[in-house]
């Protein structure tokens, strides 16, 4: 019995020991597994899990920087920034993709821009089908976490899509440009496209020239959030604020620009011209009050236009100016003292023969013993050769250089052309003769406007300037007018001005001049050189002038390429010049004078 009891005790001991060992083994295994798991989490997957944990409690967003506006002189935006939306999807979270693609396409189809031509426009059903296929293709990318569906959506479209209540899609704000005054001044403004890195970048015009000032710098905000997504006040937070771009306040007079654009558009239709431009500049400081050229493009849809339209012909196009250049040559001859207003031309009674060339007047009429004033009034080529002969090649060349030809004007628009003057050593007498009436020399329209400003400005050469100030968030930078040396004396400027006044009062276009205003001007009809000769059918008709002649408030150039109604500047560009000036006089505070 005692033995039996002892055996039972032994058995119990064994059982307890076995259990203890079992438990020990179990706990050891558990500890080993635990250590293994911790090793996996803390050593092997440490970085990945740390990132997951960080993402779970961290939130961040990019703070958009607003691109600066381009303002007219009265502070009205010619271009401003607006917010539009990028529609994106998270395909994993989207069910019933076919139905959702159909719903989205039904809204997005209204955002598709159709070509203006009705022939190439597609019916809505076809567009809807194409759009649905496109959206479906995007939504079927089930491996993708985030895919963009459509950019540049308007606020209305965003609201329409939100009303569909689709899960798994979202919107991100984006910056875009807005043109409250329409887009006719596209070549002046330029456009905003993308650079190689996909960032916004300005091209051409003001957008291109002032890209650095206009561009802002994006910011970033990061913070820690709780399980419900609310920010933790005592958590880590970091914010680098966005820096908005500076705005440009231009000299552009909104009313003058509008009038110039409106008249130019009508003028192109009326005279059947293929291209036209109007430049209005204040001669005292070179401020560009208006600059319009057609045909142009819409900066917002620049992609759908021929890239040749991006180029502004006022600053980037060079041409032979024709008779409007005569005022520069005559002013030079008067200033050099080789010609006086009283002198008479002794070689104006018939065509001039120079080497193998015979040079006549535009209408084959000749005026012997003409004074310089009459030469300008009749736009007499033989008279201009007489004045140029008096100057000689050296002085002639020196004066046209001083008037700013052969070098860029420095206007603050991207892409200014720099047509060079031929080397003086290559000039022959025939070059002197043809250049005296504006042939055989290439200039840009803005150079011609600047040269005429010398006359309107008492002999000083201003630099054309579009922007008046650069305005930052809490700073302003004035852009001061720039002047070069005096080109001609004030006396010469007055003499040539009086000749230009008479050219308007007695010239071919006197019927179009608004009554009561003293205008100094000159017409020009330049032939277009093609493959080494001049095309007799194609001309560039121009009129350049300023008003009021005694106290000029503006210099304006109107130029029409290949007008069909008449090739002459006096019958096309001049009436257009006077029509524009008549409308802008009140806006510039120019009152009529009873003497004119």
């Amino acid at each position: 019995m005692r033995l039996q009891g002892k055996r039972n005790i032994e058995q119990t001991k064994d059982t307890v020991l076995t259990r203890i060992l079992f438990l020990l083994f179990g706990f050891s295994l558990f500890v080993i597994l635990l250590i293994g798991r911790l090793f996996q989490w803390q050593i092997i997957n440490a970085d990945e899990l740390a990132t997951v944990a960080k993402n779970q409690r961290s939130a961040s967003k990019t703070l958009l920087a607003e691109r600066g506006s381009i303002l007219t002189s009265d502070g009205f935006p010619l271009v401003s920034s607006k917010e539009n939306w990028l529609l994106w999807a998270s395909p994993k979270r989207i069910e019933n993709t076919t139905q959702i693609a159909s719903d989205l396409a039904n809204v997005l189809v209204d955002e598709i821009e159709q070509p203006e031509s009705t022939e190439s426009a597609k019916p809505r059903e076809e567009l809807f089908k194409e759009e649905k296929e496109r959206v479906l293709g995007i939504l079927n990318k089930k491996d993708a976490v985030w895919v963009p569906i459509k950019r540049k959506l308007s606020r209305d479209t965003k609201q329409r899509i939100e009303a569909l209540g689709v899960k798994g899609i979202g919107f991100d704000p984006q910056e875009d440009r807005s043109y409250p005054e329409g887009s006719m001044s596209g070549q002046l403004i330029g456009f905003v496209g993308k650079d190689e890195a996909g960032q916004n970048k300005g091209y051409f015009g003001l957008e291109g020239y002032y890209d650095l000032s206009l561009s802002g710098i994006e910011g970033k905000k990061a913070w820690e959030k709780d399980a419900t997504g609310r920010p933790i006040l005592l958590g880590n937070a970091r914010e680098v604020g966005a820096l908005d771009g500076a705005s440009l306040q231009t000299h552009i007079n909104r009313s003058v620009q509008f009038i110039a654009e409106k008249h130019l558009e009508e003028g192109l239709k009326r005279y059947g011209a293929s291209q036209g431009m109007v430049v209005v500049m204040r001669p005292q400081d070179g401020a560009i009050l208006a600059l319009a050229s057609l045909p142009s493009y819409e900066p917002l849809k620049f992609n759908s236009y021929d890239p040749s339209l991006y180029i502004n012909p006022v600053v980037s196009g060079s041409y032979e100016p024709g008779s409007i250049f005569k005022i520069v040559v005559m002013a030079s001859a008067l200033d050099a003292g080789v010609v006086t207003p009283e002198m008479r031309c002794d070689s104006c009674s018939g065509p001039r023969k120079i080497a193998e060339y015979t040079i006549g007047t535009w209408n084959d009429q000749y005026y012997p013993d003409s004074t310089p004033g009459e030469i300008i009034q009749h736009s007499d080529n033989t008279g201009m050769i007489w004045a140029a002969e008096k100057l000689g090649i050296d002085k002639f060349y020196s004066y046209i250089q001083k008037f700013g030809f052969g070098e860029p004007t420095g206007i603050d628009l991207q892409g200014e052309a720099d047509p060079k003057l031929r080397d003086k050593r290559d000039w022959r007498f025939i070059d002197l003769a043809t250049t005296s009436f504006g042939q055989g020399v290439a200039i840009t329209p803005i150079q011609m406007v600047r040269a005429t400003s010398v006359i309107a400005n008492g002999g000083k050469l201003p630099a054309p300037q579009v922007v008046d100030k650069i305005i930052g968030p809490d700073w302003e930078k004035d852009i001061s007018p720039r002047f070069k040396e005096n080109v001609i004396s004030e006396k010469t400027a007055k003499e040539i001005t009086e000749m230009m006044v008479q050219a308007v009062e007695q010239g071919e276009a006197k019927w179009a001049k608004p009554k009561g205003f003293k205008v100094a001007g000159k017409t020009g009809t330049a032939q277009i050189p093609i493959a080494g000769h001049y095309d007799p059918e194609k001309t560039i008709a121009s009129f350049i002038g300023f008003a009021p002649a005694d106290n000029p408030q503006f210099v304006m150039l109107v130029s029409l390429r290949e007008p069909q109604s008449s090739p002459w500047g006096s019958e096309t560009a001049a009436p257009l010049w006077f029509a524009i000036s008549k409308d802008i006089f009140p806006y510039l505070g120019i009152k009529p004078d009873t003497g004119y």
Partner: protein, 105 residues
């Protein structure tokens, strides 16, 4: 007996200390919970305020866009055409040196 009572006294003191420490811990935890709750509420309020600022800025921007759109010269010109307004054929110039306006002769 005297020795026994001498041994029991520290036990009571240790018990009181533990009770005090636990009480303090409870107060600290409670305070933490209250502060956390307040901060969470404030965080939510901050999020709401930021959302409000963002909405107002957006609204402000939209109003600005609408305002410029309505006051553009192209809009005014098209409206004046729609209303059949005529271009003035005579402009009266005011001169500060004269007491009344005069039409050009």
């Amino acid at each position: 007996m005297r020795n026994k009572s001498k041994i029991q006294e520290p036990k009571i003191k240790i018990g009181k200390v533990w009770t005090g420490l636990l009480g303090l811990l409870a107060v600290v935890i409670g305070t933490q919970l209250i502060v956390s709750s307040i901060l969470t509420g404030t965080g939510e309020e901050l999020a709401q305020l930021e959302g409000h600022i963002s909405r107002l800025s957006r609204e402000n921007r939209i109003l600005k866009e609408e305002l410029t759109g309505h006051s553009s010269l192209s809009k005014i010109a098209s409206e004046s055409t729609r209303l059949e307004l005529a271009k003035p054929d005579q402009i009266m110039y005011l001169d500060l040196s004269q007491p009344v306006a005069a039409l050009p002769q």
